[in-house]
Symmetry: C2
Subunit: 175 residues, 2 copies
């Protein structure tokens, strides 16, 4: 089958998109590293926990919510635990499971740094988009997500790798 190359217009859009995401991810990582002493992914883990009723989540559930691998989460939680922002607790019912729990200190860090984070996102994105563009962004993003999540053709990751996975996500709900 002959390749359906991208049209010039699609190419321009693709390049612009890649450039923007690279710059954005970097800016956010830098800001959070600066102000919160952790990369965006770690901030996202704390944020995810903060949204839970008891600020706790089983490791696997947390990994799914944050869309990262379990091993990556293990590493991150170990670090955050050392920092005193999270603590682990064994599950009573299922002795295999363990919870990650956001400590008061972790919550405090989140509350202290959320404003700066939001400000960064605003300054980079939403302060420059019209109302319609915000809608367009959501719609386009949703289309892409659907295309990728609906895709069961992808050879199912051996075991650790979740089918969708990764990089961070996670909002500071609370705030």
């Amino acid at each position: 089958m002959t390749t359906r190359w991208l049209t010039p217009k699609e190419q321009r859009a693709w390049r612009a998109y890649m450039a923007a995401t690279n710059l954005l991810e970097d800016a956010i990582d830098r800001q959070l590293q600066q102000d919160a002493g952790m990369p965006h992914l770690y901030y996202g883990i704390l944020a995810n926990l903060s949204e839970e009723p008891e600020r706790k989540l089983r490791m696997t559930d947390l990994a799914q919510k944050a869309k990262i691998t379990r091993s990556r989460l293990t590493y991150a939680v170990t670090r955050l635990e050392k920092d005193g922002l999270i603590r682990r607790e064994d599950c009573q019912w299922d002795k295999r499971s363990s919870f990650a729990i956001l400590t008061d200190e972790g919550m405090a860090v989140l509350e202290r740094t959320a404003p700066g984070h939001v400000e960064t996102v605003r300054a980079a994105v939403f302060d420059h988009l019209s109302d319609e563009q915000v809608e367009q962004l959501e719609e386009i993003s949703s289309v892409i997500t659907r295309a990728l999540e609906g895709d069961e053709s992808a050879p199912h990751p051996p075991s650790d790798k979740l089918p969708w996975r990764r990089r961070s996500s996670s909002p500071c709900s609370g705030s």
Copy 2:
């Protein structure tokens, strides 16, 4: 100053965007690792070189084009050089500079794997977007890029770090 949290609409857009980019990055990385034996970033470096008249670019220019740090580029080029896909060459005029040059083998790898890559991008993105949406995506991306590149307020990275630069993500929408 009181924090200007994201509106519900902005939050939705932000989360959708983050989810999409996470999934997309992952899908592309997996596909390229599979078919070309390298992550997207490395493929991008080869692709950038292939567009040059002589398939060569000074390290710094390449870093800027690919929007990555110079140290990251050094590492990547070292690896690609080992693989025989790129070779270095010293610059005559400015003896501090060095070029990265795409070898014939590198070009061959690119040509062999480009169709699969394009197909992945199409399947995930462009096959599902209308003509207007492609335009919107470019426009929105450009706005973000301008916001981040034009920003000279950011405390200029000591040295290595470019003012804009890269990687992961995930914010706390305002909530």
